[in-house]
Subunit: 407 residues, 2 copies
C-alpha cells in the first residue's frame, strides 16, 4: 500500500480488545439514544460488557457491538461519520450478514430531508485530481482481485439475475452502444474512462474512433497498454486530462460513472463541454449513481472512500447540464437492482480474495472497503441510491431513433 | 356549434376582401420589423397590395400575406397572440404547406428563455372544469370525424412510421399497459380518461379493474355507454370528478394527456393524490406533452384552444410531483416524432372531412382548429414540444421490473 493511501486510512487506535470495565447507567442510556435514532431497525445493539438492547420490532437480523466507551459516545456526537470510523478501526463489530444489517439501518433512517441538503463540494481541477487519485490509484492489482476480467468498475447490466459478472459487464457496454446507435466511423468522446474497457469495446465492436479522458494515471497506463496489445491504438486515444479539457468535434458524448464525482457546482461547466463537443446531430449518454430525493453522500464515505462525490437527483442533472443548451431527454432507465447485483458479485470476489488482500493491505483499509462495498449494496437494495442511464440529443435534431432499444 | 363555443371563437371581423388602399413606407417598415423577428425563416412576407419581402436565407417554403393595415400593426403589438387571431379571422393567409410554414417560424423564433418563463395559471376546481369544457365538450361528433375509431385523443405509438393510426393507438395503449406490468385483478385508477378508450382497453386485454376520472361530461356519457355496450361496466367505473377527488386504494396510477392541463401550482396536489392512492408496491405512469426548456404555451393557443394549459419540463414534474414522496423514476421515453406523426394523421382526416365540418361549424372555428393542428405538428417536428412517458414506483419497493419493455 502506498504511503499516501495508508495515511488516508490511518486511525487513532485499532482495538479489538474487550475492555474490562462495566457499562454504566449513562452508557446504557446512550445506547438507548442510538436505538431511538433507528427505532424500526430489527437489530440487537450491544455494549462491550455484554449489555444489549433487543429490537423494538421483530427478531433481530444481526447485532452491532460497540467495543468501548469512547466509540459509544462518538456515535452520539456524529453517528453518520463515526459508525464507519469505528467499524473500520475495529472498535465496533457486526455479527450477522453485513449487507442485511446495513440495509436495516438504511431503511430505519429518517427519510432524506424534504428541504434539500445540498452538497457543495467545489471540485476544481486540482481537487478533482486529488479525489480521483485517492480512490482510483490504489493500484491496478487491488482492483484486479475483485472486478471482472475487463476491469469495469461501474454498474453492470444483467440480462437475467443469474448472468455472470463478465457477461453482465459486456451486456452493459453493448446496451450503452446500442442506446447511442453507434455507427462505424463515428467519433466518440468519453469523459472518465476508467481502465478503458468501454472505449476499447466501442472501437472493437462498433468500429468507432474514441478519445477517452481520465485523470487517473494508473488507470491510463493500463488502458494504453491494453489498446496497444489489442491493436486498437489507431482507433482509441487515451488522454490524461480532466473532462473540462475536452476539445474537438464528436458525434457522441458518453460518460459512465463520472458524473457522481463532478459535484453540482461544476454541472454547468460539464454542460458547456458537451455543447461544444457534439455535432448538430450529436447525442450523448450519462450513466451515474443518483437519488430519488436530494441528499448529500454519507459523511464517512466522503471522508474515506469518495472525497468530493455527490449522487444527484435527475432534475439537478437536467436543469444544470441539459436544459441550458436545450438538449432533449430521449430515454432514461433506472438500473438500481442491477447495481445491487453488481456489488454482490464484487463483494463476493473481495471476500474470496481476503487472504491475498490481507498480505497487501492493513486491516483498517480492508475493513473500510468491506463496509463500503456492503453499504453500497445495501443502499441500492433499499432504494437509498439509484443508477440512471440518460440518453439525450440536441433539441432540434430529428436524427433520433424512432423506437428505443431494450436489454 | 353550441353558443358558448361560438362565443369563444367570435372575432371582430371576418375579412377576405383585398383593401384597395396601397401600402405606405411605414407599413413596409413594419413588415420589415416582423421579418427581423424571425430573421432566418425562409418565408415570403406579403402585404395586401402585393408588396413583399423575400427571405434573407434561401428560397421561400411559403408566403404569409397580411390582408389589411390593422392586422399588420396588431402583429407589431403582440405577434404571438395576433398571428393566430388574424389567421383565424381570415385577415392573414398562408400559401404553401401550412405545417412547413409554421415549422419555419418555430425554428426561427429566439430560443426559449434561459431565464424560465413560468406559467402560473392556477387551475382550481371551477377553472379546471371550465377549461376542460372549452375544449373537450365540443361535441363527440366533431372529434369522431378526425380521431381514430377508438377516440384516442393523445399521442399514438407507431411501431413503424407506416402503421395506421388505429394500429398505432392500440400499440400505444398496449405499451402503456406493458410498461405498467398490469396483472389480471389489479386495481387501476386513471386520471383524465378522455372517451374511456384506455380504461376499456386495460380491462378488456389485461383483466384489471379501473376507476377512471374525468370532468368532461360529454366524454363520460360516451365512455359509460361504451362500457355498457361492451359488457365491461363491471370492471370499469367512470367517475365524473376532478383528479383531486380520487379516493381509495390502487395498485396502479395512470394518466395519459392530463398533466399538461394541470398547471404547475397544482403539481404538489397531484403528487399527494398519487401518494394517497397507490399501495406500497404501487407504480404509475404519466404521459404528457413537455418541453426541453421551461416556456409558457403560445398565447393564442392558451386563449383559443387550451386555456390553463402548460407543458412542463421533466424536472418540474420530478421536483413537484415525484420527489416529495420519494417516488423513484424507473423509465422515461420521449415520443416526440410519434406525436408529429399522430398529428399528421389527425390533420389529414380533418381536411378530408372539411365539407362535413363546414356544415357544422363556422369558418373562424375551422381555421382556428386547422392552425392548432398544423402548429402542433410543426412544434413536435421542430423540437419545440416533447412527449414524455414516465414510469415510477415507490422508492422503497423492490417489486419493480428487472428489465424494461420496448415497443
Amino acid at each position: 500500500m502506498k504511503p499516501e493511501h495508508s495515511r488516508a486510512f490511518s486511525v487513532a487506535s485499532f482495538s479489538d480488545r474487550e475492555p474490562t470495565i462495566s457499562s454504566t447507567a449513562l452508557d446504557r442510556w446512550a445506547l438507548g439514544r442510538i436505538q431511538a435514532f433507528v427505532p424500526k431497525a430489527r437489530l440487537r445493539l450491544a455494549l462491550w460488557d455484554g449489555f444489549s438492547l433487543v429490537p423494538r420490532t421483530g427478531p433481530a437480523v444481526g447485532t452491532i457491538t460497540v467495543k468501548n466507551r469512547r466509540t459509544l459516545w462518538s456515535w452520539i456526537r456524529d453517528p453518520e461519520l463515526n459508525f464507519g470510523e469505528s467499524y473500520m478501526s475495529g472498535s465496533a463489530e457486526v455479527h450477522g450478514d453485513l449487507v442485511s444489517v446495513l440495509a436495516e439501518v438504511y431503511r430505519a433512517l429518517p427519510r432524506a430531508a424534504h428541504t434539500p441538503a445540498w452538497w457543495r463540494a467545489v471540485n476544481d481541477l486540482r481537487t478533482s485530481k486529488k479525489n480521483v487519485h485517492h480512490h482510483y490509484d490504489l493500484g491496478n492489482e487491488f482492483y484486479r482481485l475483485w472486478l471482472d476480467q475487463d476491469m469495469v468498475y461501474t454498474c453492470a447490466y444483467f440480462p437475467t439475475p443469474e448472468a455472470s459478472l463478465e457477461a453482465a459487464q459486456s451486456a452493459k457496454m453493448d446496451l450503452v452502444c446500442r442506446k447511442l446507435r453507434l455507427k462505424a466511423g463515428e467519433r466518440v468522446v468519453e469523459a472518465g474512462c476508467g481502465w478503458g474497457s468501454l472505449a476499447l469495446f466501442m472501437a472493437r465492436r462498433y468500429g468507432v474512433t474514441v478519445r477517452a479522458f481520465n485523470i487517473s494515471s494508473e488507470q491510463l497506463a493500463y488502458a494504453r497498454d491494453r489498446a496497444r496489445r489489442e491493436g486498437l491504438d489507431h482507433l482509441v486515444e487515451f488522454v490524461e486530462d480532466d473532462y473540462r479539457g475536452i476539445r474537438g468535434d464528436y458525434d457522441v458524448f458518453v460518460s459512465v460513472g463520472m458524473l457522481e464525482h463532478v459535484g453540482l457546482p461544476s454541472y454547468a461547466a460539464l454542460g458547456e463541454v458537451i455543447h461544444r463537443a457534439i455535432s448538430p446531430e450529436g447525442r450523448g449518454l450519462l450513466h451515474f449513481i443518483g437519488r430519488n430525493q436530494p441528499s448529500s453522500l454519507n459523511a464517512w464515505i466522503r471522508k474515506r472512500i469518495f472525497p468530493g462525490a455527490y449522487p444527484p437527483v435527475l432534475r439537478e442533472v437536467f436543469e444544470r447540464v441539459l436544459e441550458p443548451h436545450s438538449f432533449s431527454v430521449l430515454d432514461v432507465e433506472n438500473l438500481r437492482l442491477h447495481y445491487a447485483k453488481t456489488l454482490e458479485h464484487w463483494r463476493t470476489r473481495f471476500e474470496a480474495a481476503s487472504e491475498t488482500l490481507s498480505a497487501m493491505f492493513d486491516a483498517a483499509f480492508l475493513r473500510a472497503w468491506r463496509l463500503y462495498l456492503a453499504g453500497s449494496e445495501a443502499s441500492f437494495i433499499t432504494g437509498s441510491m439509484q443508477l440512471f442511464q440518460v440518453v439525450f440529443a440536441r433539441g432540434d435534431s430529428n436524427a433520433i431513433p424512432w423506437t428505443r432499444v431494450s436489454g
